[in-house]
């Protein structure tokens, strides 16, 4: 219940925070929303000697469209994305995902940057951003660099971020016409991790055929996963029942769920199959201007 002792820093700027990481390296942990880190610290499964609180740094929380991108500041709370009119109107995949993360109290503190950097395979943002084809912007002592989200998740709780880097922004291509997305999650109860969840982003061309399809899978592998074969099956095709069924079956085959208290692996695979089909249909409907 009580974390181990640590030294606490509350920098006011990103460079200050980066310098702390440079100085303390792997002994330091960043604190954003804290709703993945602090529970681990309370059980003493994590006991960092230094905690660097990012919450006093201005300018890391924003949702804006600029220069052809949607840009999300790393410290934007899940609740802010959930209630944003811009998200609901133009980025339904992200609004859907924000809505089903944990519960409303956690969403008031948890941040999108913290969630992605924590890289829990059960994290909803991982699957959603893989579907959206996002880019991660990381800031370190040498400046900033951009990491495509497909290269970001390296293992359970392991990302491409170096120990002296801070995830500062997430960006994806600005929404255009004919685009749609959806995120569907099956959970035993509100606040639980997903039995399985699927995020889909797609665009429909003038003939109604899919282009730029992205499908992300949550909690069915040791990291967030992309269903690449499923996405390829849909690309260039109209999302009719047969095509959607083929893609859904492919997504189920591409994942690697573990049997646990949330269900046997075969069950989870089938949940992926069903949710992929539903999410593709919903995304296509939204791309046509419906839902």
């Amino acid at each position: 219940m009580i974390p181990a002792s640590f030294e606490y820093f509350s920098p006011r700027t990103v460079p200050e925070a980066v310098n702390l990481l440079v100085r303390y390296g792997q002994e330091a942990k960043l604190l954003a929303g804290g709703h993945s880190l602090v529970p681990l610290m309370k059980l003493r499964l994590a006991a960092p000697r230094y905690v660097v609180d990012l919450n006093r740094i201005d300018g890391l929380s924003y949702i804006r469209e600029a220069d052809g991108f949607l840009r999300l500041g790393a410290l934007t709370r899940h609740a802010e994305i959930e209630t944003s009119e811009l998200m609901r109107g133009r980025y339904p995949l992200l609004a859907d995902a924000a809505r089903v993360i944990s519960d409303p109290l956690v969403r008031n503190m948890g941040t999108i940057g913290g969630s992605l950097a924590h890289a829990d395979p059960a994290g909803d943002w991982g699957a959603a951003m893989l579907a959206a084809g996002a880019e991660i912007v990381a800031t370190g002592p040498g400046g900033t660099r951009t990491i495509p989200v497909e290269e970001f998740f390296e293992g359970t709780f392991v990302t491409a971020l170096r120990p002296d880097e801070i995830l500062t922004e997430i960006r994806l291509p600005q929404a255009g016409r004919g685009q749609g997305g959806a995120y569907l999650k099956l959970e035993r109860k509100v606040g639980d991790f997903a039995i399985a969840a699927v995020g889909v982003a797609l665009a429909l061309d003038g003939d109604g055929a899919c282009r730029r399809v992205g499908i992300g899978l949550c909690n069915v592998g040791s990291t967030s996963l992309r269903a690449e074969k499923a996405a390829r099956l849909l690309t260039g095709q109209k999302p009719d029942d047969a095509t959607v069924a083929r893609a859904a079956a492919a997504a189920a085959a591409e994942c690697d769920p573990a049997s646990d208290l949330r269900g046997p692996a075969e069950y989870k695979r089938d949940v992926v199959r069903v949710l992929t089909a539903r999410a593709v249909r919903l995304a296509a409907q939204r791309a046509r201007g419906g839902a």
């Binding site: 499964l45 991790f193 040791s222």
Partner: protein
């Protein structure tokens, strides 16, 4: 909890067998091993510090190699405990030679109790696979000349 898989090395079976039975090599390639102290034949005391992202734990344990049929079969028995929990695991390694390469097939069974079993249950399978992967990649590094 069961873990299984296989890994292929570009080296003959005798070479891989020798590496897997060398305590200095095992100390280098096993994830998180801080010390590996021989306790008689094919038995070791180990101090391990494992980190999975922010979750770090220190464990004291014993490793025994049993049921050896050189150069094709061996069983590793690991028992250990620390604040995050305890583990008892058995892993059977089977080495097959194919055209000068060695295919190592492993099947393992682990019983885990304590905090990591309760809280981390959903992650253990994936993490075990990850660590098996790290182990074999590290063995592969041992093949390269220094």
């Amino acid at each position: 909890m069961k873990v299984e898989g296989s890994y292929t090395f570009a080296a003959p079976r005798e070479r891989i067998w020798a590496l897997l039975n060398d305590p200095d090599v095992l100390a280098r390639v096993t994830p998180g091993v801080k010390t590996l102290t021989p306790q008689g034949a094919d038995a070791y005391k180990a101090k391990i510090e494992l980190a999975v992202g922010p979750v770090k734990g220190a464990y004291d344990g014993t490793v025994r190699i049993t049921d050896k049929t050189p150069p094709e079969r061996m069983t590793l028995r690991v028992e250990g405990g620390g604040k995050p929990g305890t583990i008892r695991a058995t892993g059977e390694l089977r080495l097959e030679e194919q055209d000068g390469r060695t295919v190592v097939n492993y099947t393992g069974d682990a019983q885990i109790t304590g905090l990591i079993a309760g809280i981390g249950h959903r992650l253990i399978g994936g993490v075990a696979k990850q660590m098996a992967g790290e182990f074999f990649k590290a063995v592969e590094k041992e093949l390269r000349p220094r």
